[in-house]
Amino acid sequence: MSTSGFLTAHQITKRFAGADTLALHDVNLTVESGEFCCIIGPSGCGKSTFLRILSGLAPTTSGRVNRPDEHKLAMVFQNFALFPWLTVYDNVAFGLRMRGVSHAEIHERVSTQLAQLGLADVSQQHPKELSGGMRQRVGIARALVIEPTILFLDEPFSALDAFTADTLRKELLDIWEKTHVTIVMVTHLVEEAVELADRIVVFSPKPGTIQEIVPNHLKRPRVKRSPGFYKAVDELTAQIVLPTA
């Protein structure tokens, strides 16, 4: 395995305390700078655990992760993980405040980010007052405002309705095409992975391990109703191993 990548995971093994089986076994992955990488697999295959190990949120049992500047990592969460006591503005500003950025710069960057994601009018509202789609926009704004070198996304659209999820997927693609931030995203939707990713990492369960890494050669912008798209989805779906009882 190459270790020259932007983000590398080398022989990652994870066993949760008190568990008989391994959650992850000998997982190796290299993600290049500016790449959009999706991790797919059935529920319980360890893909979210692997994402947390990659981002430094969870420790490994063995193996190591090499990642760039720890202060420039950001994550978008499945259930938004917004701080309910803070307004939209303060949620987005949170990461910058923790990094000691000046007030003037925070104001400028947060205002720009809120405007870009259509959140300027709700900046003084609390997360409770927003719809799911708007909350996830806040989650994305909070992550992007720190100008991350790697953006981790853990099933970011799975708690949203289909229409909102589709809109946000397009916005995420726009952001990625403009910024070329490195993205590692976990999803359980094959169509989503085929629509977004440069490479698709297929996980298999018990223990969680990489079954295959599939390069996605479909040209962008990808048309979801094209024969090539359907073919890619079908081929990938056939590779996913469902866990046995």
Binding site: R52, S55, G56, L57, H71, L73, A74, M75, F77, Q78, N79, F80, A81, L82, F83, P84, W85, L86, T87, V88, Y89, F94, G95, R97, M98, R99, H103, A104, H107, V110, S111, A120, D121, S123, Q124, H126, K128, R142, I146, F152
Partner: protein
């Protein structure tokens, strides 16, 4: 055109002020809601004041002894509450940071919290003979601390993992994490525990002031009335105390409980 330096500062300040604009209708709604809250508070204060005045006038209670005693007891309960609150937060954060310490200390605390603080009275009175105020504070703090401590520990057990992870990945660490993340997250538990602890504190202070010879206090005043057989005055005094405690609940604790409900996380 070149903008003067001071002018640009003013413009910047204005920008900051309106950086996060409220819709006019939202601002108006917020203002009318605040006006209603203040009006309701003033209404309760007026009603409570009239009721207390009427009881005092009709019963012939000594205003100085009653209100002076109440303020003295309020001061003691407040000091004990602050001590119990700080101690609860420190203990809860310390023990939940280490699973082994938590496994050892939680059962011990569980036994201790069922132990009546009045049972310590003889020991405290003997060991702190020269400081009756200190005896009352210790007994009060020992009574108030448990509901707050267990409420905070309960709150820590129910914390959402994703929120913890968000705080971590966005850089909240050390003391700053406690201030900007942990305490706001725990505020609903702190307020809930405080309401119970505060109520228990008032139960204890009446008894404590009866048992320890303090110069002034509502318990001391009730003791004097009871010992001299002035049952009507005693009943009137208890009525006044109930009204005053009701007002504290209505004007401080309940609004606080309402405000921190916005801090609660949705699952």
């Amino acid at each position: 055109m070149r903008v003067p330096r001071e002018m640009s500062k003013v413009r910047y300040a204005q920008d900051m002020r309106f950086a996060t604009p409220l819709h006019t209708s939202r601002r108006r709604h917020a203002l009318s809601s605040r006006t209603l809250t203040v009006s309701a508070a003033l209404g309760w204060l007026t009603l409570g004041g009239i009721a207390v005045f009427a009881i005092v006038q009709l019963s012939g209670l000594n205003q100085g002894s009653l209100l002076g005693g109440f303020l003295m007891s309020l001061g003691r309960t407040s000091v004990a509450y602050v001590i119990a609150l700080v101690a609860s937060i420190v203990i809860a954060l310390s023990i939940t940071a280490n699973p082994i310490v938590e496994r050892i200390l939680l059962p011990i605390f569980d036994v201790l919290q069922s132990f009546p603080s009045f049972a310590l009275f003889p020991i405290l009175v003997n060991s702190l003979q020269r400081s009756p105020e200190l005896v009352i504070l210790v007994v009060l703090a020992l009574e108030i601390i448990w509901p707050i401590l267990f409420s905070i520990i309960g709150g820590m057990k129910n914390r959402r993992e994703e929120l913890e992870e968000a705080a971590t990945i966005f850089g909240a660490r050390g003391w700053r994490r406690i201030w900007v993340f942990t305490l706001p997250e725990l505020l609903p538990s702190i307020v809930t525990g405080s309401i119970v602890g505060w109520g228990e504190g008032w139960e204890v202070i009446i008894g404590a002031e009866l048992l320890v010879s303090v110069h002034q206090g509502i318990g001391r005043y009730f003791g004097i009335l009871g010992n001299s057989g002035q049952s009507t005055l005693l009943a009137a005094g208890i009525g006044v105390l109930m009204i005053l405690l009701f007002l504290i609940n209505k004007l401080i604790w309940l609004p606080l409980l309402h405000d921190v409900s916005a801090y609660e996380t949705e699952t």
